[in-house]
Symmetry: C2
Subunit: 196 residues, 2 copies
Amino acid sequence: MMFKTPKESTKNRIIEAAKKLFADQGYQKATVVDISKQAGLSEAALYEYFQGKEDLLLTIPDLWVSDLISDLERQLFGIKGAVNKLRKYLWWYFRRVEETPLDAKIVYLFLKTNANFMATDVYSNVKLLYSCLLDIFEEGVKSGEMRPDLNPRIARNIFIGTMEHIITLWLLRDQAYSLFDNLDETFDILVRAFVK
Amino acid sequence: MMFKTPKESTKNRIIEAAKKLFADQGYQKATVVDISKQAGLSEAALYEYFQGKEDLLLTIPDLWVSDLISDLERQLFGIKGAVNKLRKYLWWYFRRVEETPLDAKIVYLFLKTNANFMATDVYSNVKLLYSCLLDIFEEGVKSGEMRPDLNPRIARNIFIGTMEHIITLWLLRDQAYSLFDNLDETFDILVRAFVK
DNA sequence: GCGCTTTTCTAAATATCATTAGGATATGGC
DNA sequence: GCCATATCCTAATGATATTTAGAAAAGCGC
């Protein structure tokens, strides 16, 4: 990645350091001193780039989810059929999680903790990421590919719940296996619940 | 509830205070001073009862989950058929969550954050709570009530994932509605994925 | 009631860490 | 070279978790 200004580059160094330390030791145990040191500057300098520790934490998911959002549409582009889109969504998302496990860990393990997470920008982006699933289910019902009596909102809850659970387990178990183990089988079972 | 010793009663007062403050303001923002004050003693006295703030936090889910465990077997006793047991499990669990939302909030929003959650007693109790579901799915497959090719472990992931997602949403949205809204419909969709 | 022990508590000290203040140093335009 | 600005550092400050030292209170055998 290239950075226009040296400021951008420093900011990025801080983010990378924070990502590593937060994911490794958790939000509380990772100190601002540690993060600054890892990034190669003093604590005070860090406050030129971020309002505080919490701001730094929230910046990480914000970037990650924004990046996902901008990629999502391109990934689903040209795919025909709700089930095919669903499948693509799942495989794409899991791949992204496997590629950037530190970000995923912060999102899944440390974000909801935050008292006012619901008020953050991250949350509205997550909603965007998930609202796409709602569209897919609505399309599936409308086109007749899925059961006419399927409540898209409930279907989405089941789908997201399953995804998040699989990811959380994987993160808590230190990514000791592949997220794609049994994924075909899981997907087939889920689809069975949605289609006629 | 009755307490044998005054020590038990004080300990309980501290736990109740902590529960309220943790659930309200989050782990970090709830200070030890606040908790002690709410419980009617000085900070130092609290350390006679708990090793520290983190110990206090972990005690809350520990009690809650232990209590659930001891209730679970009684609840499922006498129920015939895997699907019926599954249904009972879901309704029972959601009822318990609605009855004790503060505990649920701490378990679902603050526990996984804890870096070494996997090493705690709570975690092994949670596993116990969930292993029961595995038994139910295995029974369902064996008895022919569910598909012979159903992988019980995957079925459990889907079931738990859905449950946890519904609960987490409800907690993040300040319990503004009933957990039982749409529960019948959700359950039916899930069952469709598992049975022939 | 009276010593004695144990439990329960407090006020004050200590330690850790996020955050800020104020000043130093580097960088780029002239 | 010199000013302006951006970037950084050392050294406080303040909040808060935890410990210490020991006082008050409660139980108890006599």
